[in-house]
């Protein structure tokens, strides 16, 4: 059967998904990647894997979404995944910033207090 994706691209997608998945599982087992953040990656990779394995399934969407070729749709999907991951990262960064501001303020208060107590003791 004629596929909407070239065999080369399909093999590349499937291999890429498998290699990345192995990498992510190893990172999880080494405690370098929390499950919380890895799940999104694994779902994204599963999607890429499925696209490579059953290209006819997404071939249906190609013209529906307005792409000329299915391979462009694949690039589009990956771009969408990347943008979503970047958005999540931005949210995480903002949250981290909020927390470090709080830490810096509280630690600075403590240091000022300690200094004050020290000078009192010296007198």
């Amino acid at each position: 059967m004629n596929s909407v994706l070239s065999v080369h691209l399909r093999v590349s997608l499937v291999l890429f998904a498998i290699i990345m998945a192995i990498l992510i599982f190893r990172l999880i087992s080494k405690n370098k990647l929390p499950i919380k953040y890895s799940l999104f990656w694994l779902v994204a990779l599963l999607l890429i894997f499925l696209v490579g394995f059953f290209p006819n399934f997404i071939g249906f969407f190609t013209s529906f979404v307005g792409f000329q070729t299915t391979s462009n749709l694949v690039v589009g999907i990956i771009l969408g995944i990347l943008l979503t991951i970047t958005l999540l990262l931005t949210i995480i960064v903002a949250e981290q910033k909020r927390k470090s501001i709080l830490l810096i303020q509280e630690l600075s208060f403590l240091k000022a207090k300690v200094k004050e107590l020290d000078t009192k003791k010296d007198k």
Binding site: K97, R98, I101, I104, Q105, L107, S108, F109, K111, A112
Partner: protein, 241 residues
Amino acid sequence: MKTKKQKILLIIPAYNEEENILNTYQKIIEYNKKSKTNYDVIVINDGSKDNTSKICHDNNIPIIDLIQNLGIGGAVQTGYKYAYQNNYDIAIQFDGDGQHDIKYVENIVKPIIDEQADMVIGSRFIDKKASEFQSSAARRIGINLISYFIKLKTKMKIYDTTSGFRAVNKRIIELFSISYPTEYPEPISTVEVLKYHLRLKEVPVSMNERAGGSSSIYSWKKAYYMINVILSILLIRKRGK
């Protein structure tokens, strides 16, 4: 005088202000002696790279040294937290660079003491005669534009939207110590106060041109600043308690 009963704190955020900080502090102390007021001072050193911290410590100026630079919002909030922890009735944001004149603090504080306002902004534009220094034309256009969008969002006309010379009462000290905008704090915090249906008042003040150092808003960042501020104002929602 009623003023004596209230605990009043001047929050002075300072970033590389070695040229001005001592002078600013001495003026406050002189003023306190002269007019028998009792304004306390806390300098928030926002990770200055110069001798701001050393000058303060050598001269026994009350100071909190932030261990990292937080930017104006984070620094000022540290001051509000200090005011909250130390049970101050009124906190005033006061610039360390000589732009603000201590003699106007009385006017700024008065509506709060008289319980006519929860927050008072020292404004350069209410009474044009009051302030010789009106800042540059470009800056004024920016301030007016922000003013327009604040009106659009809150139905209230605030003239000097970027003025950092402002006083708040106990209620707002608490609000600000819990949550204070880190980006573009002056206009954004103004809108938030209005959204809480707290009473805001502007009183005329005169400001001096900066004695030294440079303003925290760089010229090449101005357009970016404006777009950001306007977007933030339009997107602000009343925060849940």
